[in-house]
């Protein structure tokens, strides 16, 4: 007995000093009680959501480092923002080393969870759902880390976002994996970010499955060094429901993987099927821009060996009928606009078929295309897996 007590004391000593668990239950005053727990939490504390539905009227926020918000499961502890009256997102995180896990968020009016300038954040088994299905009136992003270094998104499910389900912007050292993005405009989007690993996800029933973008005029520029591997990118065929005017409003229904601008992207080992416009699309930024820091071309983009099955059979592209006739009823898996930079701008593994719009300059309209077969070299560059992904310390928090 005495030995057991000693062991218990030792175990207690090994856990963070004075870490506290603050348990919150659903019911009356949930908004204030939960928000107060998030404010009063000290570094090392855990805020625990008991099972049930939390009816919330305002956005929540967390601004203390090293706090865990943990529910009883993504379907058991649900933060319901259907009646939200204010704030731009359901939950806003602005502190470092935060872990969000095992809860669901429904019908936020703006974004689901936004973490801004929040380094070393973990999203684990979090669900964000707009329950009415794809609608332009849904919020923009489900899971939205931005301006952060160290992001691990694991085992999440996001559906219904009118922009991107899982969107990582202007960030570094990112892993998105084991997640499901379904029925969003963009399933998973990596924008103006570096050192990202996107693996073992399912992107389905989105307008576009997985997007790797670089855009001008953002504070953080120069996206690249990204690996998209071992994902299922299947049946992304939902008509684009982005509110008009949106950059993702230009994503064509039926896009599997889209790479735009960027330096160093490897697309390999994925199963990409039933995407009616194109399984993989590699393009330059199509619009005019004035930002001198911006490079609109794809550089060092490698399409390696992927499992391509049926696709390109109903492309949302000008001159569709002629194209289908020319290519024998379905477009080959890789579509390129014909623009890239350097000898290794776009390379594809031997045996990967594709076609090119053969555009001659950036900003040219696709109606000027002179389509033809894809003729590019075999890869001589790659992206080193050791240089991408979230820091190992984040991984350790899942255990």
């Amino acid at each position: 007995m005495k030995i057991a007590m000693t062991a218990l004391a030792l175990a207690a000593a090994a856990s963070p000093a004075f870490a506290e668990t603050r348990t919150v239950a659903p019911g009356d005053g949930a908004q204030e009680r939960l928000q107060e727990a998030l404010i009063l939490a000290k570094p090392g504390d855990e805020v625990v959501l008991q099972p049930g539905r939390y009816v919330l009227t305002d956005g929540l926020s967390l601004d203390t480092d090293n706090v865990t918000l943990r529910g009883a499961g993504m379907d058991a502890s649900v933060l319901d923002f259907t009646g939200q009256e204010g704030a731009g997102e359901g939950l806003l995180v602005t502190s470092d080393k935060v872990t969000l896990r095992d809860f669901g968020i429904e019908n936020p009016k703006g974004d689901g969870v936004k973490s801004k300038g929040a380094d070393d954040i973990v999203y684990h088994r979090v669900r964000v759902t707009w329950t009415g299905g794809p609608k332009a009136s849904n919020g923009s992003y489900g899971i939205y880390p931005v301006e952060s270094t160290g992001v691990l998104v694991d085992g999440t499910i996001v559906s219904g976002a009118s922009d991107a389900g899982i969107y990582v912007g202007q960030s570094r050292k990112i892993t998105i994996r084991n997640s499901i993005a379904q029925g969003n405009v963009a399933g998973i989007e990596i924008e103006n970010s570096r050192d990202a690993l996107v693996e073992h996800n399912l992107a389905t029933r989105n307008t576009g499955g997985i997007l790797v973008f670089d855009l001008p005029n953002l504070p953080v520029m120069g996206g690249g060094n990204v690996i998209v591997r071992d994902n299922l990118v299947v049946g992304n065929d939902t008509p684009n429901f982005a509110p008009p005017g949106n950059i993702v409003g230009g994503v064509r229904r039926g896009t599997g993987v889209l790479v735009m601008a960027n330096d160093g992207v490897l697309v390999e080992g994925n199963t990409i099927t039933d995407n009616p416009t194109s399984q993989v699309m590699v393009v330059s930024y199509p619009m005019a821009f004035t930002d001198k820091r911006y490079n609109p071309y794809p550089r060092n983009v490698v399409v390696g060996a992927n499992e391509f099955a049926r696709g390109g059979y109903d492309p949302q592209i000008e001159g569709k009928d002629m194209l289908l006739a020319a290519f024998g009823g379905a477009l080959p898996p890789v579509m390129w606009d014909g623009l890239s930079q350097g000898a290794t701008g776009l390379t594809v593994a031997p045996g990967v078929d594709g076609w090119s719009l053969n555009l001659e300059h950036q900003g040219q309209k696709t109606t000027d295309a002179k389509p033809g077969p894809l003729k590019v070299a075999a890869p001589t560059t790659t992206v080193d897996p050791a240089t991408v992904g979230a820091p190992a310390e984040l991984e350790a928090r899942l255990r």
Binding site: D58, D63, S137, G139, D163, P219, P243, G245
Partner: protein, 333 residues
């Protein structure tokens, strides 16, 4: 016996409180600069008569030329400086207030012909930085208590709209007051304070020198006689720039609405939105010269829908005068 002791304690406490009134017309420096989160506004002693908003010694009222609009709330602003402390002028920017200083702002609405206090926000300059805390007034108007998690309070705005007015939570204070990871004041920039008020502070020894200001923001009530660009840029500075500037909450948008920003693209002219979502209203640019109806910025000012409405925090209704000033500027570009 026990009951007697309780009574005695209560009597002593009452006597103490009564005795405290004549001896405590001065704010409590230990509370202001301390480490605690005081549970009531009265703990600070900023007012000799808080319900009537009569300031204590060292607490000076001020106004901003162009203020932040908050559903038309009346705002009573005060700055507190400890005895002998001085603010320092820093060009046209924020006055540099020393540790121990505080900013106090009360929000009120008219209710049946009487002023009803809703909340008082305090911004305390402590040794480890600024701390923002919201205090919620009770229905009896006798006491304001700390409301860390914020609140919603039914009010009728001056435009006659019945709303659930939002008192922000402590973290939301930082959404607007956060800059490069720290909490900072927003309002008292020299360029947004009257020359007379600044001169009076210098004369009273509360400000080290008259700040050098190239161009002050126009007084909002006189905006009709100010150049359209001045009125609009002043409005955007006071209502938007605390988030829309590098290092602040909306930095990732790339939109910088500070008064001093001169790059047309940075202030939205022919700038595409980044993460506006459905807030882009099928429009291409934030600001289209000559065409307010094609510009995203005023459309978001006109919205009251969470996720679309701008600013994201601090309003439930539309500031028609603000929209008008911004549209007048865009139309004339």
């Amino acid at each position: 016996m026990r009951r007697f002791a309780v009574l005695l304690t209560a009597a002593l406490a009452a006597a103490g409180a009564m005795a405290a009134v004549p001896h405590a017309p001065h704010p409590n420096d230990a509370v202001i600069a301390g480490k605690d989160l005081p549970p009531t506004l009265a703990d600070y002693g900023f007012f000799t008569d808080a319900p009537s908003q009569v300031p204590a010694e060292g607490v000076t009222p001020y106004r901003l030329n162009t203020p932040l609009w908050s559903d038309g709330a009346e705002k009573l602003r005060f700055v507190y400086l400890p005895d002998g402390a001085k603010a320092r002028a820093q060009g046209e920017g924020l006055l540099d207030l020393p540790v121990g200083a505080a900013l106090v702002k009360t929000f009120a609405f008219q209710d049946h012909g009487k002023r009803r206090l809703i909340e008082t926000r305090v911004l305390l300059h402590r040794a480890d930085g600024w701390l923002a805390l919201p205090y919620l007034w009770n229905a009896e108007q006798t006491e304001a208590r700390l409301a860390l998690a914020g609140a919603r309070v039914p009010v009728v705005t001056p435009d006659g709209e019945s709303i659930a007015y939002r008192v922000p939570n402590k973290n939301q204070c930082k959404e607007c007051h956060g800059l490069n990871g720290a909490v900072v004041p927003i309002g008292p920039k020299a360029r947004n304070l009257s020359r007379d008020w600044l001169a009076a502070q210098v004369a009273a020894g509360r400000l080290d020198a008259m700040p050098k200001v190239a161009a002050s923001l126009p007084v909002w009530e006189d905006r009709a006689s100010a150049p359209a660009a001045f009125a609009a840029r002043a409005y955007l500075e006071a209502n938007c720039a605390h988030c829309h500037q590098p290092g602040a909450t909306a930095s990732n948008s790339g939109l910088d609405l500070r008064w001093e920003q001169t790059d047309p693209h940075a202030i939205g002219i022919e700038k595409r939105p980044v993460a506006a979502g459905r807030g882009s209203f099928d429009l291409t640019y934030d600001v289209v010269p000559g065409h307010p109806e094609q510009s995203i910025l005023p459309q978001r000012m006109r919205s009251t829908e969470p996720g679309v409405a701008m600013p994201e925090l601090g309003r439930q209704t539309v500031d028609h005068a603000g929209v008008e000033a911004v549209e007048r500027w865009i139309a004339g570009l």
